[in-house]
């Protein structure tokens, strides 16, 4: 991480006391740091100050006597004399509040904000106490739906422009704006265009009044009902800090918590509203055992006995484990230890071969932190569409490009959420990435300027798999190039919440806990001292596991929060593998395509229900907290595995999650020194970034000549992710499920002409792994010869992820 230069200090006089503050810091912040809170409505520390509401007026001495100035736009200079508490200031505050309340409705009892409302609080603390206004107030139609998630009550709006500024400055979805003038000024959406932003929930959170309310939370509770606990969002791997708020053991609201290192307080609507899935009616509550082809309820004893017996009846290396990418580190560690030391198998994978290689993700050299974006001169994003995959990271990159002025280069098979703010945008046909990389390296033709920008560091590179069908080795080749750039920092991307942690815990065919390679004999011996004898050699990866199950080499499968049938790039293979496996046991929170076919399903605790740590995409370990009990008889994953181990005649020694962390810290070299107390109370409140690896990294380079040549009807597939897909957590969150759009097949308009189809017609896509029929759409940003299909949709899943697909128009009777 780049070191921050020492800030220049100046002395200001605040309410008669001399205070040292940073030069140029806004007075409102400086005063707050010095312990004097100045009331405010429009100022929000992550947005540019506008000085709209005038609530923050203070008296400042100037050359021509004292004057009232808004402290949110006043930078601190040497010798500034400020009074924030005298009678003049109080009179001004009373006046501002009286004006604000002229038209403000008396809605507090039915207003979601009531009880945590700055307008209420400021009125009590600084207001006139009595209204002189007896006339009728201004009226608007009560809440109007400005999107499927957000309602707007214009009567309550105090026109602070926080919401519009968030959309303009931070998210870039400028979908709401002030309209009209004077007394009629109001916030509105544009004609026919809803406020359909992935980040709309943030405006609800920062609105200082109850003008914007979120449908999923509306009227569910009042602030004083809520219990809150800080935790980490487990929706994606950014590790956004959240406050989980519950009442009566129901999670009712998730708000962002401002963390300098990760999310700056922002969340995506997926982070915010998938809480509905926690209390889904379909949550697994009791163990299920298959009897006569049906999954029926069973007792824990019966289910665990059966699992222990079946796993004990096959050879250890005939068993494989998949998953743990959405579990805590403690759970993942127990999973790895259970598989390696109790079952004694080397076959396990936290991923489903749909992102990057384990070794690359776990041990990238020059590993970047998110905050490297703040100092980066040039940012190269060659990964999936960040807005769709990791929305909060998208916000941080967007901030670097728009507010901090970094040069942004985006390379992706089509236009992405970042294209608008990028300085250089390149699109290419999937499969031709190596060629694109070669040209970028050489600064060939259109790449010349971008190549030049890459010479002015620090250069931050975000690499990932742009789509499901792309060769994962491309990202490693990009990383190898990126490492040659000045002050290089590299962030390898994977999406699942704790996939980095699961790999660090050794849920991998190639890695032992603590990023130790299975080939590292020294590390291996050290682990054997703690765990006992380990299985020999390198294990099988997800695809190999599925092939092994299908061919009969492997007999049993344990999944932990994973759904190979629904998510593996070769859906047919995954289906057959699970069918032909002799025994499948799933530990999960919801029944998915895989667990629905399992022989035993064990219900486990999910988000908010178990305590532990998670490691995000920069290698930052943060603490997840528990606030509600798991539903029904569901238990924490580690205790289920511990129980199972005992029934198999072994012991894992997992008595509580905190002890497991202690064991991890003593075994996994990278996690030495990490314990819960440090993360809960100590310096690790914003997480602890694990030390990066040193030495060399084995990279698999992509051979340059894999570019494909187009033959008639043969297209390369770009299988890109969208935020709202048919994932189980979205399906179980009714507010988000309605936003899911079915998948379609997008082509460049010229390809549409060649295929002789119109948008809306159907085409059949046939790949190596399956065939689907989809409606056609035009997308000019695609390279010719490419078809873009949204991944993980019910109507596109069967296609799988093959790079080349055969496209044929489907002619109905009418055409």
């Amino acid at each position: 991480m780049a070191d921050t230069p020492q800030p220049e200090l100046v002395t200001i006089t605040l309410n008669g006391v001399d205070t040292e503050v940073r030069k140029g810091q806004l007075l409102i912040d400086a005063a707050e740091q010095a312990g004097t809170y100045i009331p405010r409505f429009c100022y929000q520390n992550r947005l540019k100050p506008v000085g709209l509401c005038r609530m923050c007026l203070v008296e400042v001495e100037g050359p021509r006597g004292t004057a009232l100035v808004p402290s949110c736009t006043q930078p601190c200079t040497e010798g500034l004399v400020v009074d924030s508490e005298n009678a003049v200031v109080h009179k001004a505050q009373e006046g501002v509040l009286e004006f604000l309340l002229l038209n403000h409705p008396l809605d507090c009892p039915v207003c979601d904000k009531g009880g945590e409302c700055p307008l209420q609080d400021h009125t009590v603390a600084y207001g006139p106490g009595e209204s002189r206004f007896v006339e009728e107030k201004r009226h608007y139609e009560k809440p109007i739906e400005i999107s499927d998630l957000v309602l707007l009550d214009r009567e309550r709006c105090i026109l602070c422009a926080r919401c519009t500024r968030f959309c303009d400055e931070i998210s870039g979805d400028s979908l709401i704006e002030f309209v009209d003038r004077g007394n009629g000024t109001q916030i509105l959406t544009f004609f026919d265009e809803p406020f359909a932003s992935y980040f709309s929930g943030n405006t609800v959170q920062i609105c200082p009044v109850g003008a914007l309310t979120a449908k999923p939370y509306r009227f569910r509770a009042r602030p004083w009902d809520l219990e809150a606990i800080e935790s980490i969002s487990m929706v994606d791997s950014v590790g956004s800090k959240v406050s989980v708020q519950t009442s009566q053991n129901q999670v009712l609201r998730i708000n962002g918590v401002d963390s300098d290192t990760t999310n700056h307080g922002w969340l995506s609507d997926k982070d915010r509203f998938t809480l509905q899935a926690i209390h889904s009616e379909d949550r697994l509550r009791v163990p299920l055992v298959r009897k006569d082809g049906e999954l029926v309820e069973a007792s824990w004893g019966e289910a665990l006995e059966l699992v222990a017996e079946r796993l004990g009846s096959v050879r250890g290396d005939e068993v494989a484990g998949l998953g743990a990418a959405r579990s805590t580190n403690e759970e993942a560690y127990t999973f790895a230890k259970f598989l390696r030391s109790v079952v004694v198998t080397p076959h396990m994978d936290a991923q489903l071969d749909d992102a990057l290689s384990d070794e690359f993700l776990a041990a990238t050299l020059n590993r970047a932190e998110i905050n490297d974006l703040e100092t980066a001169g040039t940012i190269l994003v060659w990964a999936g569409d960040l807005k769709e995959e990791l929305p909060v990271l998208y916000l941080r990159v967007r901030r670097a490009a728009t507010i901090l002025g970094a040069t942004l280069i985006v390379i992706h098979p089509r236009r992405t959420g970042l294209s608008d703010v990028a300085d250089h945008v390149f699109t290419y046909r999937p499969g031709e990435g190596a060629d694109t990389l070669r040209r970028l390296k050489a600064g060939d033709g259109p790449f010349a300027e971008a190549r030049q920008a890459l010479d002015s560091g620090p250069v931050m590179t975000i690499v990932g798999r742009t789509g499901g069908a792309e060769d994962p080795r491309l990202a490693e080749s990009v990383a190898a190039f990126a490492r040659t750039l000045p002050d290089a920092a590299i962030m390898p991307l994977a999406r699942r919440a704790n996939v980095y942690g699961a790999l660090d815990m050794g849920v991998s065919a190639d890695l032992l806990p603590g990023r130790v390679s299975v080939r590292d004999t020294e590390g291996r011996t050290a682990l054997e001292d703690a765990w006992g004898p380990l299985p020999e050699g390198r294990g099988k990866h997800a695809t190999e596991i599925l092939q092994g199950l299908k061919s009969g080499d492997l007999k049993a499968l344990i999944t932990l929060g994973a759904d190979p049938v629904g998510n593996h790039p070769q859906p047919a293979l995954a289906g057959e593998a699970v069918e032909s496996a002799e025994f499948v046991v799933s530990l999960d929170t919801l029944l998915n395509a895989t667990s629905a076919r399992a022989d035993v399903v064990l219900p486990v605790a999910g988000f908010g229900e178990s305590e532990g740590t998670a490691t995000n995409l920069e290698g930052r370990v943060q603490k997840l907290n528990r606030i509600i009990p798991p539903p029904g008889q569901a238990r924490t994953t580690w205790s289920v595995l511990d129980d199972l181990a005992r029934r198999m005649g072994a012991t894992l020694g997992a008595h509580d999650a905190e002890t497991i962390m202690k064991e991890i810290a003593s075994i996994a070299p990278a996690y030495a020194g990490i314990d819960w107390a440090l993360l809960d109370w100590g310096e690790g409140r914003d997480g602890v970034v694990l030390p990066g690896p040193d030495g060399t990294q084995p990279l698999q380079h992509m051979p340059v000549e894999t570019s494909v040549t187009a033959t008639t009807g043969r297209f390369t597939l770009h299988l890109g992710r969208v935020l709202y897909d048919n994932a189980d957590v979205v399906r179980n969150s009714p507010s988000l499920d309605v936003l899911v759009q079915p998948a379609s097949a997008a082509f460049h308009p010229r390809d549409l002409a060649v295929l002789a189809v119109q948008p809306g017609d159907s085409v059949r896509l046939a790949g190596d792994y399956g065939t689907v029929e989809l409606a056609v759409r035009a997308d000019e940003s695609l390279a010719e010869g490419t078809v873009y299909v949204q991944a993980n949709m019910d109507n596109s899943r069967a296609l799988g992820a093959s790079l080349i697909v055969q496209v044929d128009a489907v002619r109905g009777e009418g055409s």
């Binding site: 009892p109 009880g115 009595e130 009227f219 009042r222 009902d225």
Partner: protein, 210 residues
């Protein structure tokens, strides 16, 4: 030893109180045959009122639950169905429960209610044989659209349901800032059954100075 020696003069002094009381007026009542007139602001069982048009007054704001020192009220709000609203406005009291075993009949809930939805009545005979029955739900608390109160037990010698109609409707009638001119303005919207309540001592129905 004679009897007089045993009890002594002190004995007579002691009995003097007893003898004196024999001739004063009796204060015991033949409850429940004979009931006392209760003060107007008696703190008895709660009712949930309706407006004169039958709409529920409760908006589910939970202020009563928030203020209750015994933590015995459980309220949850919900969106008013627009076609068939339960209460005026956006939100209505979807769940309303009071645990009468815990209630200390302090009346703070009545004072906190911004719509005079919850008021206290004169009925206090609420003995139950099952703890569960002591939790009054919206079914029992809410009056019928015409103002007829509901009760979980049938009327009988102990329970005079008419007492449930005598709800006092007293609420905060001072300005939050304590300005004297506001003292005595009752904000009492009419209730089904009861209509607009007459002003109490120190209050004027037109809101002017007394």
């Amino acid at each position: 030893m004679s009897f007089m020696d045993t009890i002594g003069l002190g004995g007579f002094k002691g009995f003097a109180v007893t003898f004196r009381q024999i001739f004063t007026k009796k204060v015991t009542r033949k409850y429940p045959d004979e009931k006392r007139q209760k003060p107007q602001r008696f703190h008895g069982r709660h009712v949930l009122n309706r407006y004169e048009d039958g709409m529920e007054k409760c908006i589910g704001c939970e202020l009563c639950a928030g203020v209750c020192p015994a933590r015995c009220i459980y309220v949850r709000g919900a969106d008013n169905p627009p076609e068939n609203p339960v209460s005026p406005g956006e939100r209505f009291g979807f769940v309303y429960e009071i645990n009468m075993l815990r209630c200390i009949f302090c009346g703070l809930c009545v004072e906190a209610c911004p719509t005079t939805a919850i008021t206290m009545t004169q009925l206090f005979e609420m003995s139950v044989t099952d703890r569960q029955d002591a939790i009054y739900t919206k079914n029992e608390l809410l009056v019928e659209p015409d103002g007829t109160p509901n009760h979980s037990q049938p009327a009988g010698p102990l329970i005079d349901l008419n007492e449930l109609k005598l709800s006092d409707g007293w609420m905060r009638a001072t300005s939050p800032a304590g300005r004297a001119a506001y003292e005595g303005i009752p904000h009492w919207p009419g209730s089904a059954g009861a209509g607009v309540r007459p002003p109490e001592r120190g209050q004027r129905s037109d809101g002017g100075e007394v």
